[in-house]
């Protein structure tokens, strides 16, 4: 199969305009004949559902939470990038594009990233019009701050709750369309399968999470906006319900999974404290604007931080990367933290933490300013750890946060299955091998508000509306298979709980497909994942019945899919004999420990096809062509 990215012709700056000038349109009277199924109500799914309904399409929207407002985008803290250049500090669309593609270590498609930068400004306009309360200056205009990987201040924010405010904007836009009868909202539904009829995505099977009933839904297109797969690691900053199941079910129906090994480890999270730990909490990257990262110079220094004098502290980010300092990109900051803790210079009970210190900023700006900027984050930190970060430095450590990989999509955000579109974190498209801070919110909303309304029309214009229903053999087969899988899970009645399996899987993936990888470790972990998967299907113990509210059953289905995905991640990491972005292979590093890319052999998107056997996926390569940027070694020194 040849992967056609469908990047439009013309100079980079004109591609999106050229596309919009020539894409087929659906006239307003015809839009209401089409039904679009939108799975997920985060920033991507929520904004898509609202925008498509405003255009006149009938939208059916699904989420696993009890309300669309609870999708995990809500937890994004720091901000959203845009090339507005309000601070007059030299930002442009080109610079946002360039920073993003460089930040992704040159493993993203130029045309997609450029479009993202172009659209960024409209997102801010739209959100302000919706009533999103962004931070403002006393003059009444919008305020900006800096994030990693950029030397301009282009990040818009709402205290430390930007994701919440943007998501509520999209949720409210959806609410308006629900009231208008254009969106049918179906909460507490989990997508268990994709229905493909005559080569086109035409429906989904969902489980009603309250009654356990399996339901068939038919539409003219399916939009998947189901987020990332960070919970494959068990411990991550993702919400407990975040999962890969919808995307993985599509993969098993033929959709390619691209760059699965590109997983982001966020440098500033609250460290693990015990075996019972159920998830990890992020401390926003925005804190690195004012916090300084350090460890003691000496290994095993037992003194509390306040007793370690200035000249015995190692501000290792400022030392190693003087021009970006504490604001180096996430992958660089995470690896640097790992390097100092590997040397035995980590702090805290476990030695797996570094300090993020606000002492100097508080002295310079006053406690009030710091409180205004980060008050809620400091509060959250204190609640979890019992320590006051105004008095003692925060202890932080890297944790899994975001997944750049996802289902392969073309320029129109359509997967290789006709009519299956993938938006937001669920696709692979814009962040390459590493995502910059404040870019996830930008991408989710760009996809939903400003890309899909155009590209979906182009697809639907070529087909008849509503020409199939849920009585076809394909629907029946997909529903039967979903039911059989649930029955099989419940019939095992073994000795180990779903959580025990998940935790074990997480440890394997973290140790071998985590912050640092080796060929040997990756090859070794394959058989361990296979063994664990076999054991799961022979020994998992799931309580309850299929026809009730049963969270353990939900989780079991998701963990079963993570067990398969984990193997694909390892295979992808083995294939990529280079270090790039978040994918760090120890064999490929400079003497200073920086990542060594191999552009001659690996400047491609690794797009994996399911062949019927989980352990034997087929690799397809989409070669990345760089016509506008020169591939250089990323340097933040």
């Amino acid at each position: 199969m040849i992967l056609d990215s469908k990047v439009p012709a013309g100079p980079l700056q004109e591609k999106w305009d050229n596309y919009k000038n020539s894409v087929a349109l659906v006239n307003p009277a015809n839009k209401r004949k089409y039904t679009v199924l939108v799975v997920g109500t985060g920033l991507a799914g929520g904004s898509a559902a609202a925008s498509l309904a405003e255009l006149g399409y009938n939208v059916k929207s699904f989420c696993i939470q009890d309300s669309a407002r609870r999708a995990h985008s809500i937890a994004a803290q720091g901000g959203i990038n845009a090339a507005k250049n309000y601070p007059n500090d030299g930002d442009t669309v080109w610079r946002l594009f360039y920073d993003t593609i460089k930040g992704g270590d040159y493993r993203a498609r130029e045309a997609n990233v450029y479009r993202l930068a172009q659209i960024s400004n409209s997102i801010i306009d739209q959100c302000v019009a919706q009533g999103v309360p962004f931070a403002r200056e006393y003059g009444g205009l919008l305020d900006n701050r800096s994030f990693g990987g950029a030397q301009v201040s282009r990040t818009f924010y709402s205290r430390g709750q930007t994701g919440q405010q943007l998501l509520l904007g999209a949720y409210q836009a959806m609410a308006r369309q629900i009231d208008a009868g254009k969106i049918e909202m179906m909460p507490r539904r989990e997508m268990l399968d994709l229905v493909v009829v005559d080569g086109r995505a035409r429906g989904i099977i969902t489980r009603n999470l309250v009654t356990g009933e399996l339901e068939r839904h038919v539409g003219d297109a399916v939009l998947l906006s189901t987020g990332g797969y960070g919970n494959v690691y068990y411990l991550s900053t993702n919400a407990k319900n975040s999962n890969v199941t919808a995307a993985w079910r599509c993969h098993k129906r033929g959709a390619h999974f691209a760059n699965p090994c590109f997983t982001q480890i966020h440098p500033t999270c609250i460290p693990v404290s015990g075996d019972y730990q159920s998830k990890l909490t992020l401390m926003s990257e925005s804190l690195r604007n004012d916090g300084r990262v350090w460890v003691p110079k000496e290994t095993g220094d037992p003194r509390p931080p306040s007793e370690i004098p200035e000249d015995e502290r190692d501000y290792y980010l400022e030392r190693r990367y003087p021009s970006f300092g504490n604001l180096v990109p996430r992958d660089v900051a995470s690896r640097a933290a790992k390097a100092v803790t590997d040397q035995g210079r980590g702090v805290g009970e476990t030695g797996l933490a570094v300090y993020l210190d606000f002492r100097d900023a508080i002295n310079r700006l006053g406690k009030n300013v710091i409180e205004e900027r980060y008050g809620n984050l400091f509060e959250m930190y204190e609640r979890i750890t019992g320590e006051d970060p105004y008095q003692v430095p925060m202890s932080i450590f890297p944790a899994v946060h975001y997944t750049m990989g996802g289902l392969w999509v073309d320029y129109e955000l359509m997967s290789n299955i006709l009519g299956l579109f993938v938006l937001g974190e669920a696709n692979f498209s814009d962040h390459g091998a590493n995502r910059l801070g404040a870019s996830a919110l930008m991408q989710g909303l760009a996809d939903g508000y400003f890309v899909i309304p155009y590209t979906l029309g182009g697809y639907l214009a070529g087909m008849d509306a509503g020409d199939t229903d849920t009585n076809t053999a394909e629907f029946a087969q997909a529903e039967d298979e979903s039911r059989a899988r649930i029955d099989k899970l419940l019939s095992v009645q073994g000795d180990k709980t779903v959580t025990e399996f998940h935790r074990e899987l997480g440890r394997l993936v973290w140790d071998h497909v985590g912050m640092s990888r080796t060929k040997e470790g990756l090859q070794g972990v394959l058989s361990e994942i296979q063994r664990l998967r076999e054991e799961f299907w022979e020994n998992v113990r799931i309580p309850g019945t299929p026809d009730t509210f049963n969270k353990n059953l939900e989780f079991a289905g998701r963990v079963a899919d993570f067990m398969e995905l984990a193997e694909l991640m390892a295979l992808d990491a083995i294939d990529r004999d280079e270090s790039c972005g978040a994918h760090f292979r120890e064999e490929y590093q400079s003497p200073e420990g920086e990542a060594l890319r191999n552009d001659d052999d690996y400047a491609y998107v690794a797009s994996w096809e399911y062949t019927g056997e989980v352990s034997k996926p087929k690799l397809h390569k989409e070669e990345l062509e760089f016509e506008n940027v020169k591939l250089t070694t990323r340097s933040y020194k």
Partner: protein, 254 residues
Amino acid sequence: MADRMTIHLKIWRQEGPDAPGRFERYTVEDANSHMSFLELLDVLNEQLIREGTDPVEFDHDCREGICGSCGVVIDGIAHGPQRRTSACQLHMRHYADGDTIVVEPWRAKAFPIVRDLVVDRAAMDRIVEAGGYVSVDTGGAPDANAIPVPKVSSDEAFDYAACIGCGACIAACPNSSASLFTGAKIAHLAALPQGHPERARRVVRMVEKMEAEGFGDCSNHAECEAVCPKGISISAIATMRREYMKAAFAGQDV
């Protein structure tokens, strides 16, 4: 260092909306002071599954206090004893070895019980659907800096917009009123110029919806403010009333 502790629990169990409910007693012997309250329930559930008993169902997701999924009444207080803290952010260091904790679901007429500690809060979504938004279609917005908004207005809007929609305010209210929840959205949008064109229609529709959904009226107990994990002020309710009066007197077409 984390201290090991034994915790006794008395938890409300109910198989479905119409099934009879009851308290059950459990003991978790390997709790520790670093755990969150929901992690304590996780440990209990692992124990129950191993014993062959159905685990206690409860809603939870982000476990960072922002998604609003979790919410249970702990020893008679919505979200538990620590102020401005959702149940997921409550940590066991606030309890002592040997303590007994009583756990119940939100109780309100408009919140039918789904199972155990899980309730149906869809009525809150329906209040927002009645008008908790600004009617702007995607694409036609003016430049974001075209309308300056005073910082005080923007900060005030944010304080109300911080609502996580958990429903604690309703669970804590003796009248099961949704006034703080509804008022917070009205006050958020009333503080911003973007929200002004629809303010009369919004408040009338949302208040009417709140009543129709079976939520009670506000009689100024302020229990809602006391339990709100985001510390939203009951001045939101005053704003709601003021907006409602203005809309009623102005006789605006709603």
